[in-house]
Symmetry: C2
Subunit: 464 residues, 2 copies
């Protein structure tokens, strides 16, 4: 970076867009896992797509690396700056620009927090179905760059499935104006797909045209206790068949997750006792309240009659539904109740038929290394996705060993090492467990073609 | 192409895979629109992915262009060989290799006809939801390469939404083994997205892991007559709200389409009189027959009571449902009943609120050129997608003028020039009406990076 480069940025961009030195707040280089992060050379906070383009054109010319930041809630260190990088924060591009109920589209700037978008479209009787625990701080741009999943994938798909068009700035400052609203548009290579889920290494998303749906009139949540994982899978099949398109979430929690969350996380209450082996949170939504109630009650009755579920509670109000969701959404808070913060968090896809054996294998092999270590397992069973946290307070020096162990077991079970969190820096050493050499080499070819100077989030996912 | 190249292919590949000279059947260079097509230098019909890889490695070395063929039902001349090209026909890779009901996945070779796959998974009580009129001859590989849409997009999305993993051979013969079965797999760039809908210019799809769903127990079809397009859109909103996830198709036909199909296409019977301005085919599906019947009857009653629909008929059996579908599926047959085969066919996306004005504008401006010319309009209204055929039997010399006219009007209405058919050769001159210069240049960058010798379907979509 040449001497006067920061000054050149200052004069090229919107006044106040460039922060440096003491003006850089700690939040731009803060790791939620507590590891030290170098301070960036500058933080640039554009208000317009044109400023993003100007910034990248200059950085491309100089070969200056840039790391793009959304809400900083990612779990794979993808948005933390390396030494000498410039941070591009999207926090000032946070407007919902348009909501079109008849077309079923909302247009939002990339720095818009997810919850802000959710609440804005609710005013028009609509729903943006993407939802995850970090909704208050994560941004639409971050959701797109990581192809976020979350709680309603079973009904509405991943973020990718909710995107109609994207405006993107590529490494040399070119603006790809693809903010289209069509559901169907087969006109050559679908470029937006390249930028969804590629963690910002191919371009910076600046605005998105997103699918919105009529908000369900009624949403009801049940929490159920089940005696075995076999019964969880039978119950899932039964729920799919009887609820059809009304089934909007099916989340499973192993005993340790439910029990410890109820016992340790402040403000969380458990409506069912904590001794059951498995808990399922099930959500049904639709336009006909009587039907949703009747369908859900009938499902629970049948499941009880078949001895699939041991106990269950149904939400009776929005508040009680939110209280049940709060249990499932408290995974980060649960982690924070343990003193050793470097707990190992995993996010895997695998066949639902092998999930119980997978969790048991992790539990026993974790205990073989450290008898007091244990795994907390939960996740989106209906999507084939589990989250696993391994707690080993007494053996912090064995972090790498536990990490390796879980990835090895995931490989043995034919799973994916990242269902929704992405690769970033943290999982880079394990990428080859889920992608072939030829695939990784093809990714490199694309990166070199679109970012020949390797300035966008360099070193994330793979090294060039 | 060097002298002995065809012989080299013959010795490198499976015996019988290479046809040349008089062994090349006319079907490999037959245009359904009747235009002359040059005979390819050879037709290669591999049985294995390894043979596709060997073929491309040799063609890459020699710089020999290859055009890949599926069922040859495309509408944009994308699969017709240019002079001196080698045809890669996928017709011998046509097996459904695996159907896994519990995982909801089927694995099929690219040359498998769509209907063969549909029927195979039906044996296991499953449904592959992609469906279009060409089902008997189009192939899974062709569906993927064109991101086919069809009749159930409103509920299940485009082909892209139905793909979990792909095996692809790139231009230099590299095999990308991405045949994964996960719904969620965020492990770096999602390479498969590059090959879906890019019309074979970046790679050859050899096998696919496809999502399959429990087959609905009941499927019922209604055909309705409506007095105006405004009432069509109100009826669509009502159907979405009242049927929710049960609504699996909503197809609209302008009077000319319905009337002419009933009058001219052999074997098609019209259950409603032919004088109504608009006809809607609506399909509802689900696991509970009584509920589907009751919901559909209630919807039709309400719509009749609100004077939205003038007349309606409900299917009473699989046979009567198929008879109604046959009307909507006969667009190609209808075109063939006109003596002048070079009718101009369009496939556009636009806002549903502007569809009526769009169709009226085309009608009046077509008549201004030729008073006896007329437009036939129909399509997937629920997805924002219309098909338009302009018939101008008396003025065949004005083909280009009519084509230009419809694209101009599509541009004026902010529409996409290809909702589902793709660009191929036919629409290449109009690509810039739906994509920006920067987007097309980025497509070229990708093409050069993945196919530096420009051997895969060269000249389709754009020239390098």
């Amino acid at each position: 970076m040449s001497e006067g480069f920061i000054d050149e940025l200052r004069s090229a961009l919107d006044k106040g867009a460039v922060l440096s030195g003491g003006d850089i707040d700690a939040r731009y280089h803060h790791d939620i896992a507590g590891n030290p992060v170098p301070k960036p050379r500058a933080v640039v906070r554009p208000r317009t797509t044109e400023d993003v383009s100007r910034l990248l054109r200059l950085c491309h010319r100089e070969g200056v690396p840039v790391t793009t930041q959304g809400g900083m809630t990612g779990l794979v260190r993808g948005a933390l700056p390396n030494a000498n990088e410039i941070v591009l924060s999207m926090e000032r591009m946070n407007s919902v620009e348009e909501v079109d109920a008849s077309a079923g589209v909302a247009i939002a700037q990339a720095g818009t927090p997810l919850q802000k978008l959710q609440e804005r479209v609710e005013q028009d009787g609509l729903m943006f179905p993407l939802d995850l625990g970090a909704r208050g701080s994560c941004t639409i741009g971050g959701n797109i760059s990581t192809n976020a999943g979350g709680n309603r994938v079973i009904r509405y798909g991943m973020t990718r499935d909710l995107i109609l068009g994207l405006e993107v700035v590529t490494a040399d400052g070119t603006v790809l104006k693809g903010l289209r609203k069509y559901i169907k548009n087969n006109t050559g290579i679908d470029l937006k797909q390249l930028f969804i889920g590629s963690e910002g290494i191919l371009g910076v998303v600046t605005r998105a045209a997103l699918r919105v749906f009529p908000a369900p009139v009624e949403r009801q949540v049940a929490l159920c206790a089940l005696p075995s994982f076999g019964q969880v899978t039978t119950f899932l099949r039964m729920a799919r068949e009887s609820l059809g398109g009304e089934l909007t979430a099916f989340e499973v929690m192993w005993n340790a997750y439910y029990r410890l969350t109820v016992e340790r996380v402040k403000g969380v209450a458990g409506p069912l006792p904590t001794h059951h082996p498995f808990y399922v949170l099930l959500e049904a939504s639709g336009s006909n309240p009587e039907r949703i109630h009747a369908d859900l009650e009938k499902l629970l009755e049948t499941a009880m009659g078949d001895n699939l579920i041991l106990d269950a509670t149904l939400s009776t109000s929005n508040a009680s539904a939110a209280a049940i969701w709060r249990i499932r959404d408290s995974s980060v808070e649960l982690g924070r109740t343990f003193p050793y913060t470097a707990r190992v968090g995993f996010d895997v896809s695998l066949a639902i038929g092998r999930m119980e054996e997978y969790a048991d294998t992790i539990g026993s092999r974790v205990r073989a290394i450290d008898p007091q270590a244990f795994a907390i397992v939960f996740g989106h069973a209906g999507d084939g996705n589990l989250h696993v946290n391994v707690h080993h307070e007494k053996t912090p020096d064995k972090h790498d060993e536990f990490e390796r162990l879980v990835y090895d077991i995931t490989g043995e079970f034919g799973g994916s090492i990242s269902a929704e969190h992405g690769i970033g820096i943290l999982k880079r050493p394990y990428l080859k467990m889920s992608r072939t050499e030829e695939e990784i080499e093809t990714m490199r070819t694309l990166k070199r073609a679109l970012d020949p100077k390797n300035i966008l989030n360099p070193g994330r996912i793979f090294t060039v």
